[in-house]
Amino acid sequence: MSTRFLFLCCLWLNQIAAQTNTLPRLELKALYGSNNLQLDTFYKFHENDSIKFEMFRFYISGITLKQNSVTVGSDSNHAHLLDLSNPHSMQFALPASKNNSHTTKAHNQLEFYLGIDSLTNVSGALEGDLDPTKGMYWTWQSGYINLKLEGVSNLCNTRQHEFQFHLGGYLAPYSALQRIVIDIPNNDTVEINLDIKACIEEINLVKENLVMTPGEAAVRIAAIIAKNFKCQP
C-alpha cells in the first residue's frame, strides 16, 4: 500500500479529531519569580527570609473559550485537579462539550474558575477529580477545598514554621470561587503562568499563616491568587 494513501488517511483522521473534540491544550505553570516553582526547595524571600513550598494543588473548572466575549467552546470536563507534584495534571487537552460544534473557531479569550461552584458543592459524592479521596474535600463541614498551598517559612511563628492555606467555601458571604478571564493568542496550546512569589508577597506571613476554614481570609487570598494567573504570550 502506498505511503500516500496512509498519509491521506492520517489527514482525514486528523480532520475528524479536530471537528469532533478538541479545544486547545492548556498548560499551567507555577513560577517563583521568573523560575519554575519547584516543591521542597528553599527560595529567598524578601531580603533575609526564606520560603519553601511543600504542596500546591487546586481546582479549575468551567473552562470556556471565547472570541470577543462570545463563547466558541467549552470544556466537557467539569473540573480539573491540578497538582504541582504531578506534572501531568498541570497540562491537558480540553475536550469540547457536545453541544458546541464549532470548536475550531478562532479564540482570543479564556475564561475559567479557580475552585468549585456552589451547585457542585451541594451535589453529593462525585467521581474522578472530584472524588473525596483526592483530599480536597472538607470533612467536618461539607465543601470542596478549592486550593491548598502549604510550606515552611521562618516568618511563620507556628509549629515547625509551617504555613497552610486551605482555601474554599461556597456559602455567601464567603464564597471563595474566583472567575478568571484572560486574553490569549489564537494558538493550539495556551500557556498560563501563575507566579506564586507575587501571590505570597501580598500575604503577611507573620500574621497570616493558617487559613483552614471558609471566611473572609480565604476569599481575600483566593482573589490574590486569581489575579496572578497570566497568559504567557
Binding site: 451541594v122 453529593g124 459524592a125 467521581e127 472524588d131 479521596t133 474535600y137 463541614q141 461539607s142 465543601g143
Partner: protein, 347 residues
C-alpha cells in the same frame, strides 16, 4: 472465561432478570402517602439491592475507623432508632468523647442539612465527618479505600453493586447513603391512626391536641421536624464551646441555634438534646414547662410560656410514645448483615 461459560452466564443473567421482573420485587424505597417529596435526588444515585447491601455492610464494618474498632453502628444502633444508646456525648475511638449527642437516623431522605448545626450539606458527605474526626473514627477515606481493596469481600461487593470491582470514594459514600435512605420510619401507631387503621386512646388524643397547640410548629408532622434551626430555650452549656448554627452560617442571629430533631421513636433515642443533657421525656417536658429561657427563644410558641398540668404532661408523653415504630426498630433488613456476609464467605 471460555466462551461457553460466558454464554451460560448471559443466559443466567437474562433468566434472573425476567424472574425478577415477574416476581415484582418490593420497591426499594417508598415515600409514604401524603408525605412531602424527598429531598435526596435518587436519580443521581439510583437504588439497587446490591448497592443497599453494600452500604449496609459498610455501616456495620469497623474498617471505616483507623484501628478497626468503631463502625457507624457503634454510635448508631438499630434498637435505639440508630441513636447512641446511653451516651450523652458520643464515644469514639480510644474512648475519646465527642462534643455532641448522636441523633436517631431515620427518614434521612427528607433531610436537607445534617448534623445539629447543618454542617453537612448532603447525605453522601455525612460519612466523611465521623470517619475523619479524630474524636470518632480518626481515619481518612483514601486510606479506607486502600484497606478495602485488600479485603476479599469488598471487590466482590463493589462488583455486584456497580458492575466492576473498582472501589472509589464516591461509590463508597453513595452506597452508605443508599442504606441510610432505606431507613424509613412510617409505621408507628400515630401513622396507623392517620391511615384510619387504628385509634388513639383518650389520653393519647388529648396529648395529640396539646402537641398540636404547643410543639408542632417546629416538630411538624409527618416528619416531626420542620428541619429549621431554632432555640428551644435550653440554657447554653459554655463548657462545650458549641455555638450551633452560627459556626456554619456566620450570621450572629444563628448563635446557639440547633436543628429541630425528629420526635419519631423518641421513646428509644434518649438521652435528649444536642448535648444529651436530658435523660428522659419527663425532664424534657419539665424544661418546656418551666425551664425556657424566654430571652433567648424567638418562637412565639415558646415565648408564650407553656403551662401543662401534671395530667397533661402524662397525656403528652402518651402521645409521644405513639411515635414508636416497632417495625422499624426490629426490621431485619436494617440489622447486622449476617446473611450477606456468610453468603460471601461461601463463594
Amino acid at each position: 472465561m471460555p466462551a461457553m461459560k460466558k454464554i451460560h452466564l448471559v443466559f443466567f443473567i437474562l433468566v434472573a432478570f425476567t424472574f425478577g421482573a415477574l416476581l415484582h420485587e418490593a420497591p426499594l424505597f417508598i415515600a409514604p402517602k401524603n408525605w412531602p417529596k424527598p429531598v435526596y435526588d435518587l436519580k443521581k444515585n439510583p437504588l439497587s439491592k446490591a448497592r443497599i447491601n453494600l452500604g449496609r455492610v459498610l455501616f456495620y464494618d469497623p474498617i471505616l475507623s483507623r484501628d478497626s474498632t468503631i463502625s457507624c453502628n457503634s454510635c448508631h444502633s438499630q434498637y435505639t432508632a440508630f441513636a447512641h444508646v446511653d451516651h450523652a456525648l458520643s464515644h469514639g475511638i480510644e474512648n475519646r468523647i465527642g462534643t455532641r449527642n448522636a441523633p436517631a437516623l431515620l427518614n434521612l431522605a427528607w433531610m436537607p442539612l445534617f448534623m445539629w448545626d447543618g454542617a453537612i450539606n448532603h447525605l453522601d458527605m455525612q460519612a466523611l465527618a465521623p470517619m475523619s474526626n479524630p474524636l470518632e473514627m480518626d481515619e481518612k477515606i483514601d486510606h479506607v479505600v486502600k484497606k478495602m481493596q485488600r479485603t476479599k469481600i469488598y471487590p466482590t461487593l463493589f462488583y455486584q453493586a456497580y458492575g466492576d470491582s473498582a472501589i472509589t470514594g464516591a461509590r463508597l459514600l453513595k452506597s452508605i447513603s443508599q442504606f441510610m435512605i432505606t431507613l424509613v420510619s412510617s409505621n408507628s401507631k400515630y401513622d396507623s391512626v392517620m391511615r384510619h387503621q387504628a385509634q388513639f386512646t383518650k389520653q393519647e388524643l388529648n396529648g395529640y391536641q396539646l402537641f398540636k397547640t404547643n410543639c408542632s410548629t417546629c416538630h411538624t408532622e409527618p416528619l416531626f421536624t420542620n428541619n429549621t434551626f431554632q432555640s428551644n430555650g435550653i440554657p447554653v452549656d459554655t463548657s462545650l464551646h458549641d455555638f450551633g448554627r452560627v459556626s456554619m452560617s456566620h450570621a450572629s442571629t444563628d448563635s446557639f441555634l440547633y436543628k429541630v430533631p425528629t420526635l419519631r421513636n423518641i421513646e428509644f433515642s434518649a438521652p435528649y438534646m444536642h448535648d444529651g443533657r436530658f435523660k428522659n421525656l419527663t425532664v424534657v417536658l419539665k424544661h418546656y414547662n418551666e425551664g425556657i429561657d424566654t430571652q433567648r427563644v424567638k418562637s412565639i410558641d415558646l415565648k408564650k410560656h407553656i403551662v401543662l398540668t401534671s395530667n397533661e404532661k402524662v397525656d403528652l408523653i402518651a402521645f409521644l410514645l405513639t411515635l414508636t415504630d416497632r417495625h422499624f426498630l426490629f426490621d431485619t433488613s436494617y440489622s447486622y448483615p449476617k446473611k450477606i456476609l456468610t453468603n460471601l464467605a461461601k463463594d
